[in-house]
Symmetry: C2
Subunit: 552 residues, 2 copies
């Protein structure tokens, strides 16, 4: 007879929607109760959503957040669920505020039982790198929370606490912990996942504890939380694993730190990388659209690979009937561009219309006489005005289809092809866009479906088609060379010596570095989009605009 | 016979331009030497520029920064200036890197003497609030640097170190310090200044030390460093003060911590607040334009107050011959709008041309049939395309003329009136825009000059003129009410209770709060502009886009 039936509740909270998130938690406990659970653990900040950024500095917000914990305890008690121990994440006002900080709050986990809050833990290690500013927004806690429930001892910590050394995590064994409950808000990154499993396994062995690692799921602005909650026993062996990129409730019977059985068999390993990336992009787009209340999206379809891939992601995310494509041919558009755009739309089954841009372009040119680069940018900007106008008239969210390589070197027209509220492939390098397209078509093929992305969009040489015969490679190095160099420069933060040692010429390094520095002002005004790499543009990479740094 | 002739060198470095900044320092020492100085102190990060943000994570950057310190010492020695002790700020690689951080560098001050670097201090207190992310980018140092020179003892600390308690600052008295040298990168904020004088005075008395507080000057992106370097004796009495908003070199003969005489009398107090704000805006614009290599700026002139004030700031900053105005009347423009735009241009002496927008608007409307809000936004976007096209053709930087009130509530057209690389009055509330306009005209009057801002632009009711008879107050509360509410909500971060206690109706608070939350996505894509308040939009206020928080 097991002591504890644990439910790891992988919910998808919305930042700031405290009453909605409370309802999600309540419903998850109800569901877990029907399955016989007597302990339910949620992810980090499951009541407030994550990351709340500077909302942590707002005393009205903190008041609501703290009330929600009490309300959850009361509602559970009132519903006859009070005997289930429930561990939720939330923000709470700290009892002290340090000098030299704006922070007034802590990042907390509270334990609700019998209508009360019986314990509270405050996160100790506050990540202040990458996309995180937690040292700005929170005050660290120092004490491990340990509680007994149905004969077992549980300790509670939060996310970064297990990625660092020292602090409350080092007291877990001394507290005679059976199961450590780790609440997480851990965003997806390519190849990050098994880092988590390794880490949790190491913690289990080091502190002689089973570990329930519960992550939130869903996207918040540029971050995609992928779920993939884990349970390991005190030997570090994987016992249960929740779905990736989906809400889930995983139940496990726990007799002791060494002996536990999941109610259903769960996957032991992750799916392949391209599957993960595609699903991260799909979830990122879906949640941005739905959480912000848009009924549909609109995007320009050029017949090129970027817009074809964005259209396929959008169709997978919200259904093709909510996706509106616009082909906007100009005098320089190739015959195949219109055909490929139509082909893309018909494969996906999305709405498409054609709006040639010549009349508007001519109106500007006749009055203002733009030439050269001005005339090229003008075409992109007329397209931007059309998309924004249709968005204003019809209520669609505009998607901007630029990829990470273009963003890095500034190969785009600001207020032109960059218009939009969301950039689905903003963190996807051009070479990875092609890989994803081929992978998505293979997936369709393997499932006996028609291919969602036109083969010609994948195979033809990329072109912005803003002047006759233009090709991307007239202005840029070959994409495989450029992407390798950019990855060393931006993601790996290599020194010039290291990049040269990898075989890149100093002139090329200098040329690309200059393009990256000069286009910072455009990136700063760009739409957000889902982070999938270890160094996305936006709040993860913070560079000055005014910047005369030259690599030498 | 004084022991030491100290020069406080208030230079204007450019971020990343390490060789240029080195040259500025070298020239300042040469100039100080001609005036007989034997100790020269620069501001924080005077060799690298400030703030370098994530450049601190780049090992190539750190290598250049460290080489520059040695090169400065060598060049001074070679030029026969080696006997002058020179204290400069720069970044340097740390000897250790902590777990759980990306930081690899320290924010340092080095003392050059006789061709060597004789001492190095690393900043201890790292600000990680407001616009600062120093806990992200630097590793704290722990030890006070004290050195002897010409019979006096000097201790060195950096900026935030004196704003907090504890750390190296608490060891100054014990080190028998005569003069504490504080290197600063302290940005301008309304009413901040005498905080610095108070702070420096308190430090002097608490640690029984004279204090030389040396600030950099000049703008870097959204920050305006205002200079205003200070020297107080050990009783906390002000002895010397450098210019505000200008480079400067202030010389003082120091016999002891109590006895010191400036070579020239310097101002004891600051100028009035509106003078300071105007000069901050002027310097912010001038340095963005010049440091980024633009020869000219362009902006739309609507005849309204915002564009008239921006044009005046630009003319004061870089001279009217580098300022290009464009009047872009539509079918809804009032007669006075064109007249007032022309009046503004002629008062300032800037270039102006008129580009009616009707032909382009009609081209879009005939094809796409936009109506209502779409048609209003279309007009603003056609103007944006014109300005960007002229920028591309002629090389001007586009200025966007939105004020802080509009940005707060989203009263603007994205990719329309928001286009541009720099937003001169982005942090200036609408009511302050009017105050500044009146103040600038009074200044001109008092100097017998013609008034730079048309009286009618100041006095007429504000309108976007995007539909017949439209006034801002059709959609927004009166600006004095709105600005007071926004100041409580955003700058003072008041709770709902506090705002209600000040007399605002809950419905109004809710309506304004909703507008602020919903327009975050637009602000995120906005141009940078100079921070003048204690809570500017941009990197100082970091709120999520997806955000369902409702004040209740």
């Amino acid at each position: 007879m097991p002591n504890v039936r644990l439910a790891m509740a992988q919910t998808n909270p919305i930042v700031g929607d405290i009453s909605g998130n409370l309802q999600l938690c309540f419903e998850a406990v109800e569901l877990a109760a029907r399955e016989g659970a007597n302990l339910v653990v949620f992810g980090e900040m499951s009541l407030t959503g994550y990351s709340i950024e500077d909302l942590a500095l707002d005393s009205s917000f903190l008041k609501q957040s703290e009330s929600a914990v009490l309300e959850l305890a009361h509602r559970l008690q009132h519903a006859g669920l009070g005997e289930i121990a429930v561990v939720v994440g939330h923000a709470a006002r700290a009892s002290h505020t340090p000098i030299g900080s704006w922070a007034i709050a802590q990042n907390c986990a509270s334990v609700c039982l019998n209508g009360n809050v019986i314990g509270r833990y405050a996160k100790h290690h506050l990540p202040n790198y990458s996309v995180f500013d937690e040292y700005r927004n929170f005050i660290p806690g120092n004490d491990l929370l340990t509680f007994e429930h149905l004969g077992l001892r549980f300790s509670t910590v939060i996310c970064e606490d297990i990625w660092q050394t020292g602090g409350p995590v080092s007291q877990i064994a001394a507290a005679n912990t059976d199961v450590t409950l780790v609440l997480n808000g851990s965003p997806f990154e390519i190849d990050k996942t098994d880092q988590r499993l390794n880490l949790v396994g190491k913690l289990a062995k080091a502190q002689n504890t089973a570990v329930a690692y519960v992550n939130i799921v869903g996207a918040q602005d540029d971050l995609v939380f992928d779920g993939d909650s884990l349970l390991v026993n005190a030997s570090g062996a994987l016992i249960a694993r929740a779905k990736q990129f989906k809400t889930d409730l995983v139940l496990i019977d726990i007799e002791s730190k060494d002996s536990m059985i999941p109610l259903l068999a769960t996957p032991a390993a992750k799916s392949e990388t391209l599957w993960q990336v595609w699903n991260a992009l799909v979830l990122g787009l879906r949640d941005y659209v739905n959480k912000n209340g848009f009924s549909s999206v609109i995007l320009g379809l050029s017949g090129g690979i970027d817009s074809a891939v964005c259209a396929a992601i959008a169709s997978d995310a919200i259904g093709a009937d909510r996706v509106f494509g616009v082909a906007m041919p100009s005098r320089y558009s190739s015959d195949h561009s219109l055909a490929d755009a139509a082909d893309s739309a018909s494969r996906l089954g999305l709405h498409i219309r054609t709006e040639p841009i010549d009349a508007m372009v001519t109106a500007f040119e006749s009055q203002l006489g733009f030439e050269g680069l001005s005339a090229e940018n003008l075409q992109a900007r007329v397209r931007g005005v059309i998309l924004m106008g249709l968005s204003n008239s019809e209520g669609h969210l505009v998607l901007t289809t630029g990829n990470k390589t273009e963003l890095a070197v500034g190969y785009s027209t600001i207020y032109g092809d960059s218009v939009g509220g969301f950039a689905p492939i903003k963190d996807v390098a051009k070479t990875l866009v092609w890989e994803l397209a081929r992978w998505r078509n293979l997936l369709a093929e393997s499932q006996g479906e028609s291919l969602p992305i036109p083969e010609r969009s994948i195979s033809k040489p990329p072109s912005a088609e803003l002047r006759p015969g233009q090709l991307d490679q007239d202005s840029l190095p070959e994409y495989d060379v450029l992407d390798s160099l950019l990855e060393m420069m931006i993601e790996q933060r290599c020194s010039t010596e290291e990049i040269m040692a990898a075989g890149f010429e100093p002139e090329l390094i200098d040329r690309v570095s200059t393009l990256v520095v000069r286009s910072e002002w455009k990136r700063r005004q760009g739409a957000i989009g889902p982070k999938i790499t270890s160094m996305s543009f936006g709040r993860e990479r913070r560079h000055p605009i005014t910047n005369k740094f030259k690599r030498i």
